[in-house]
């Protein structure tokens, strides 16, 4: 039995991270404590740097990565926000850093409990984002994250819900080190900082391509940004391939971008991400008892967003109900926007409803999800496909 934070730390240990830098924040702190225990107890040969801020934590990781070390950091909420500049930097510099984000609400006002506003706010920083539904997925995703990041040179954020997973014990299979070593080879960077072959990284780069000292035309800033976008677009195949390989070694396959529960015959689909996708399965059970053909699409990878896969899977739905533990203020929940965007131009004619739930640790009950679906079903008969703004499950 491991709680989510312990599962994350085990994943980092098994991945043989070489430089770990972190700053404590609730509910992430036990990850850093467990990792420092591994390092001091010589269970993990790594440099553990107890930095003075999250901004520095990620700066330590990015520079350690430029000399060829495998790096890890973990944070939550305000810590992730404080890292924002460095999140852009890590992705822009194409460094395969892995970060665990223990999802927590962000202030003001203060709140230490779970929602996904923190990582969703960082979606445009160029990181791959993977969300775990349970503690086994946390451990497995971290190991996969290194293989993905080091293949495509894009940093990976593994997100899991604070308290709901981070402080809740569940059965977790901790694979043997030899098996992980077989799956995840040592990091061999394509280029490192080395006086034997001096290079300058992250120099001022003009918008247009520019000729180097040998007369070769080199990329401008715009081309570098294109390549980052291309890397994320193409990373879908790597993510699925790595997930399949993981299944071959450990008998737990992740050859998908999202989890499907009873979607084959479903005309009503609940969409949720993280641990909420497990609660959605309970809600689907209840709705099926009432005679509805309900399935669940549990988003696993939020960036790159699996537009084509989602469109294909949801094409025949009559009703899609998206639950978001985040809000893009002035619009709607972020995953709902992505689902709508994925369906544009497809043959889908589904009614889409969005519910904002669970902010700041507000409990989300399966019963409430059932009620939300039943309420949404009423609009199917009205032919009212879209609403301007989401509905909230709260007291207002």
């Amino acid at each position: 039995m491991l709680d989510g934070n312990h599962a994350a730390a085990e994943g980092v240990r098994l991945s043989r991270a070489q430089v770990i830098a972190a700053y404590p924040i609730t509910p992430q702190s036990p990850v850093t404590e467990k990792l420092s225990e591994f390092v001091e107890g010589r269970e993990l040969e790594a440099q553990y740097i107890a930095v003075e801020s999250e901004h520095s934590a990620l700066a330590v990781c990015t520079s350690a990565s430029t000399v060829g070390a495998r790096t890890f950091t973990a944070t939550s909420s305000h810590g992730l926000a404080y890292m924002h500049e460095m999140l852009h930097w890590a992705a822009g510099a194409r460094l395969p850093v892995v970060l665990a984000c223990v999802n927590r609400a962000i202030g003001a006002p203060w709140n230490v409990l779970n929602d996904q506003q923190d990582s969703i706010s960082q979606r445009d920083t160029g990181w791959i984002q993977i969300y775990a539904r349970n503690n086994q997925e946390i451990l497995d995703s971290i190991i996969q994250a290194y293989k993905i990041a080091e293949s495509v040179y894009v940093p990976v954020m593994v997100c899991y819900d604070g308290y709901v997973l981070s402080h809740t014990e569940m059965p977790v299979d901790v694979p043997p080190q030899e098996a992980v070593d077989r799956f995840l080879p040592r990091y061999k960077p394509h280029t490192i900082l080395d006086p034997a072959n001096p290079k300058n990284y992250n120099l001022v780069t003009l918008a247009n391509p520019r000729i180097n000292a040998e007369g070769v035309l080199c990329h401008g800033y715009m081309e570098l940004r294109y390549l980052l976008q291309e890397a994320l677009q193409n990373s879908r195949d790597t993510i699925v391939k790595v997930g399949r390989e993981f299944g071959e070694v450990f008998d737990r396959s992740y050859a998908n971008m999202f989890w499907e529960d009873r979607l084959d015959d479903a005309d009503i689909v609940i969409v949720a991400m993280g641990s909420l996708a497990m609660e959605a399965i309970v809600a689907a059970d209840m709705l099926r008892e009432g005679g509805h053909k309900v399935g669940v699409l549990g988003l696993r990878v939020f960036r790159p967003f699996p537009k084509a896969d989602v469109a294909k899977t949801l094409e025949k739905s009559r009703l899609i109900v998206v639950f978001d533990k985040n809000i893009s203020y002035g619009l709607e929940g972020a995953t709902c926007s992505e689902i709508k965007s994925a369906l544009y131009g497809s043959s889908a004619r589904a009614v889409i409803r969005n519910f904002v739930v669970g902010l700041g640790g507000r409990d989300v009950k399966a019963r409430e999800m059932v009620d939300a679906v039943n309420k949404s079903l009423l609009s199917v008969n009205d032919g009212d496909l879209n609403r301007e703004y989401p509905e909230w499950i709260c007291a207002i």
Partner: protein, 308 residues
């Protein structure tokens, strides 16, 4: 304490390495003291270095992709992160078992006194094994000369445009000394041999080493670019800059300032101030306050030198 013999081989223009690590034709302004200082810093480190640089004039010196004027490996890093970035380099090299390289963190006064001080203070407290050099041109010169924590009282800058700055600068070397690190030194780009020797010494010491380099800035301070060296020397002769080392807590005046001490008197600070357009609106009261501050600091240093 190292014995006299350790440094008997004094560096001179003759025995200094001929190899250049900073190529000619970089993008700094004419008369840039940073460009001079960096040349000797890199010579002293003899190429066995990985540097990290935040947003600053040094970024400009390093050039624009895909061309650089520097032949040592370097990672540019966000403004606040110089010392954290250097920490990452040190940790990464250690994790990979690579030895024999100096990690050089080098930032301006904005990047050191202001936005970078949190990361620097923490790295020094962790006794991270790197050499941190602050080149101090007393303002945000790369962004066009705005006031920093190192801009002197009375100096006009982009953000103190009429009245001049109303506060004293902070003494960053003293702040760093308070971190109980093994080596703190001050140097002035007009004294390149002193600079060269101190960097060479710093490179042999383990733990956090801090060197403060005074780098006059012709456009920012409004003086003709052929006066960089004389302004730097006047700074020492007036006591505005005091050249010293603190090695394992033991204070020692360095030759430039020691010879001023031997002569027995500082030149009046006014002689230094009138050479620079940035002090054109300074008041008599401010000059008096600055002179008082310089005198007090000078006396403190002489007392320390006599007692150590």
């Amino acid at each position: 304490m190292p014995s006299e013999g350790d440094y008997a081989m004094k560096s001179t223009a003759v025995n200094m390495t001929e190899k250049e690590y900073l190529l000619p034709g970089n993008r700094t302004c004419p008369g840039c003291a940073l460009s001079l200082a960096y040349r000797y810093i890199l010579k002293a480190l003899e190429g066995q270095v990985i540097a990290t640089v935040p947003a600053s004039c040094l970024t400009v010196l390093h050039g624009m992709y895909p061309v650089t004027s520097v032949t040592v490996p370097c990672v540019n890093t966000p403004f606040a992160t110089t010392a954290a970035s250097a920490t990452g380099l040190v940790a990464g090299l250690k994790a990979l078992g690579k030895e024999g390289l100096t990690v050089l963190a080098i930032a301006g006064d904005g990047g050191t006194h202001d936005i970078g001080i949190q990361a620097l203070s923490a790295a020094a407290e962790r006794q991270t094994d790197f050499l941190y050099i602050c080149y101090d041109n007393e303002g945000y010169m790369n962004t066009g000369n705005q006031r920093s924590g190192s801009t002197p009282l009375g100096a006009i800058s982009g953000t103190t445009p009429i009245l001049g700055k109303q506060q004293n600068q902070k003494d960053i070397a003293a702040i760093m000394e308070a971190h109980c690190i093994p080596y703190v030194a001050t140097v002035d780009a007009s004294y390149p041999l002193d600079l060269y020797e101190k960097v060479r010494k710093a490179k042999t010491i383990r733990g956090t080493r801090f060197i403060h380099v005074f780098t006059p800035c012709p456009p920012g301070w409004s003086f003709p670019f052929n006066n960089t060296i004389s302004i730097g020397k006047l700074a020492v002769e007036t006591g505005w800059v005091i050249l010293y080392e603190v090695e394992d807590g033991v204070f020692r005046l360095s030759e430039g300032s020691e010879s001023v001490a031997r002569r027995g008197n500082l030149k009046p600070l006014r002689e230094y101030l009138v050479e620079q357009g940035r002090f054109k609106n300074i008041t008599e009261e401010q000059i008096e306050a600055l002179q008082h501050w310089v005198n007090a600091r000078w006396k403190r240093c002489l007392d320390r030198a006599a007692n150590s």
